[in-house]
Each structure stands twice: as C-alpha cells, then as structure tokens.
Assembly symmetry: C2
Homo-oligomer: 275 residues x 2
C-alpha cells in the first residue's frame, strides 16, 4: 500500500505556477499517494487564518503534517500560513532573498505580476491569435496563410488542433493547421496551397498504433480507423515530410505542452506574448 | 535608465514550469531590464557543457554573472551548470532534499513527469475536450449542451472563446460558449436554450470602455463598435445575469489564466486532467 499524505498548494493569485511546481516536485515521490488541494486567491489575513484552521484540522485528523507549497508575496499572509501545523515549502520567498542580495535591490513585493494582463496590447494580440487559429483550423481559409507564423500539417487526429490552439494561447503566435487528405497523401507531394508557405510548415506524425487507438475512440468500424489506413497514411505523410524537407515531430508520447515547446524550439520561433 | 541583466531558464524538459517560476520571480524586480533566454531540453552532458560555454561568454562580455534558473532532475547535468559563471537558482533541488527528509523517502530522480503524457486516457480526453470546445464555440451545436461541464455566456468579444479553449486544454473540461445576441439582450431573459442548463452557465462581463477598444481593433466604424452599443449590451447582459442568478465575472483586468482559475474556483469545478 502506498502512503497517503495531504498537500496544499496556496497562492495569493491563481496558483497556476505554484501548482505546476508542486506537481513537478510531488511527482518525484511516486510511492506517496498525495491528496493535493489547490487553494488560490488567498489575498487577505482572514482567508489565511481560515485556511490555517483547515490545515490544522487535517493535521489533527491524520496525525501527519500536510505539505504546504506557497507562492505568497505578502509577508503578513505568509507568516500566518507558517504558523499552521504543516511543513511549508515557500516557492517564492526562498529565492527572493538571494535574488535581492545578488541584484543589490529590494523586490517590489507586488502581487500577481506573473499572470496578470501586463498590457492591453498583449491581451488583444493573444485573443487575435486564438481567433486566427480557429479561423484557419483544419484547412479552413488557406488564403490567410500569409498571416500565419506557423502551419502545422499531418494526418487526421495526430494532434494538430490542440497544438495550434495551445501555441496561439500561450505564445500569441498565428498558427494554422492543415490536414493531409487521402488524395494529397497519394500525390506524394506537398499540397499546392502550402508550397508558397514552405518555410512556415511543420509536420506532426504519430505511431500508427496510437493513431488507431485515437481514431477508434470515435469512429470504430470505419475504414478511416482501420490498421491498414493508419499505417498507410502515417507512412505517406512522413514520406512527404522527408521529400519536401519539412521538419517534423513524432507526437506519440508527448503532451500538448511538450509538442508546443519542441516546435517553438526546433522552428526557432519566439513568443509574441509573455504569460 | 534601467539596469540590464541576463537570465537563463534551463530545463531538461519543456521548461514551462521553470519559465513560469522565473517570470514570477523576475517580475518582482521591475527596475531591472532582464534579457531572459529559455533553454529547454538540456538532457545530456554535452548540451549542458555547450550551454555553460554560452553562459560564460555572456558573463565575460557583460562583466556580470547571469541569473540562472534551473529545473534539472539529473545530478550530473546540474553539477555542470553549477560550474558556469553564474548565480544559480535551483527551483527543484532546493526543495527535494527537505521533502525527502520530511517524507523519509528518496525521490525517484526521474525526468519529465510534470508535463509528460502520464496516461493515454488523459491525453485522449484532453483532445476530446478541445474538440468539444471548438464544436460548441460561439453558440454552435447547442444540442450537445447535455455533455457540457460549463457554458460560458456573454456579449460578443468579452473573452468567451479564449476562456473556453483554455479551460478545455488545461482542465480537460467540456466547455461551451454562447454569445448573447441583440434580440436575446433585449428580451432581458436567459435564452431558452440555456434554461435547462442553468446550473452550468457562467457569465462573463467587461467594462464597456475596454469592450469598445477590443471591438474597434477590428470593426472600427460599425455600430457594433460604438460607445452606445457597448454600454448598452454590457448593461443588458449584466442585468440578465443578475435576474437569472447566473454567477459572473468582470474580465477587464484579467488574463485568460486568471479568468479560467477564477471560474473553476467559483463554480466549484474540478480538473479532469492534471497537466
């Protein structure tokens, strides 16, 4: 049996950064069955005191101190949390002191810079990027490709749409995606509409076995989701990528975050926004 | 003049967590003009050594040690980076030791659990969520609302689409969005198609002045983007939210992350996936 342990992730804002850090740290202890609770928006002394009571109840009931991961800018709130019956890992304050000494400056102690709307222009261009990705999803409105930063291509259900939306949301890039259809795969050439945009094109591929699984979730029984079709389409697509010298990536064991970060890295693209 | 300083964010995987942490820490020093470089996928000793040379070049040219933020699981790679002419902030290792002592366990030292595809099922449901959000974007296919976890409503351009896509990508939730049109706003009632789904509905609102800005970016001159229309539509929408007792949120000064996290928090929803 795995050991159970309670964990709290506490933030004065959304807690997204804290959650990602905590998740990454906790995953290093696979033998422990963590019961993790995210508690965002702890931005007042009263909320902090109430939370301390809840932490102490958990500590009392389980007889074990919960692990508490915090990103809190306000010293007074942090001090209250520190009084709880818990082991606090302060993701923020641990580094601010050393950074202040190194930079010879005091930190601003201001809350919520990380995910705030730093300027309206960035927000607007982010929304514009998301709308562009939707507008040019799945081969729609290819006449807008002159505005694209990137055109993701591949066979149906290899992950083009989530990748495009992710990159538009998180990097503010104008990302289109284009499905390689049966006739285009048979032609063995890069589709005509992409030739002029060659340098923006990035291919996605996937193991045929995994593609089969994904397609069968929704279209069981179609020839579309047969072993042969999946094998053939993937081979044909990779063949086009190689012949046309299109950079490409096998997404089989990757999350959308990893696919996105890898494409940015390999294609030498830069963020248009910082989120 | 602001002080310039170089910073590196180094990870053995995508670096997304490290980037978020570093961004949040660096933003506490607004007087410094940081030149930040993200270096993901440092997963071999050779890559680490090459990177150390680059860091040392920057240190030599600027006469100042770059700030280096790392999330590296492999001790050998970390030790190489530590030899560079830099100030290293180890976001991961700083906490792993104390956690090991508290838990009485050794950490697994395994790379890339945080953003990996932990299981295929989670990946598939995430893709399904994204496709559902697109399928039911902007009032499309309302007959699928029985499958929705959440239906975001509001006037045109208040942020419904980015919010829906964000929540589908990051929480794996089935999120639809529905625009309140002119006639529906005039009717002063929750649209008929939403009445049965009342408990899933969440409203977005926005300051009329900000809405005007956003609409004018694309539709300057239309009555759609006039001061009067924006003021009127926002007032009518908020009136419907209050009358129908729909929870709602003013998104004016919020990023998509904040809007998403706030809705999850207020609507009492839970993640379907951990990313």
């Amino acid at each position: 049996m795995n050991e159970k342990r309670h964990a709290f992730v506490i933030s004065d804002r959304t807690g997204l950064t804290a959650e990602a850090m905590a998740h990454s740290l906790l995953s290093q202890f696979p033998k422990v069955d963590f019961q993790t609770r995210l508690v965002p928006f702890i931005d007042s002394l009263d909320k902090a005191k109430e939370l301390v009571r809840e932490i102490d109840v958990v500590a009392g009931e389980t007889g074990m101190k919960p692990l508490v991961f915090v990103t809190l800018v306000d010293d007074a709130i942090r001090m209250i949390i520190n009084q709880s019956e818990s082991v606090v890992f302060d993701l923020f304050d641990t580094f601010i002191g050393p950074m202040e000494r190194e930079l010879g400056l005091e930190s601003s102690h201001s809350v919520g810079k990380s995910h705030g709307v730093s300027d309206n222009k960035a927000y607007t261009s982010r929304i514009a990027a998301v709308h562009f990705a939707m507008q040019t999803d799945d081969g729609l409105e290819t006449d807008h490709y002159n505005l694209s930063d990137l055109i993701v291509i591949g066979v149906s259900r290899c992950g083009k749409t989530p990748t495009s939306l992710y990159l538009s949301l998180h990097y503010g890039l104008f990302v289109s995606n284009y499905p390689l259809t049966e006739n285009e795969l048979l032609s063995k050439r890069l589709p005509e509409v992409l030739v002029q945009q060659r340098e923006k094109v990035f291919g996605l591929t996937i193991d045929p076995q995994r593609l089969l699984q994904i397609r069968q979730e929704r279209y069981k029984g179609d020839s579309y989701s047969s072993v042969q079709t999946c094998q053939q389409e993937v081979a044909q697509a990779e063949n086009i990528f190689r012949t046309a010298r299109i950079p490409y990536l096998n997404t089989t064991r990757m999350s959308v975050e990893e696919i996105g970060a890898t494409i940015i890295h390999k294609a030498g693209l830069r963020r248009r926004i910082v989120v």
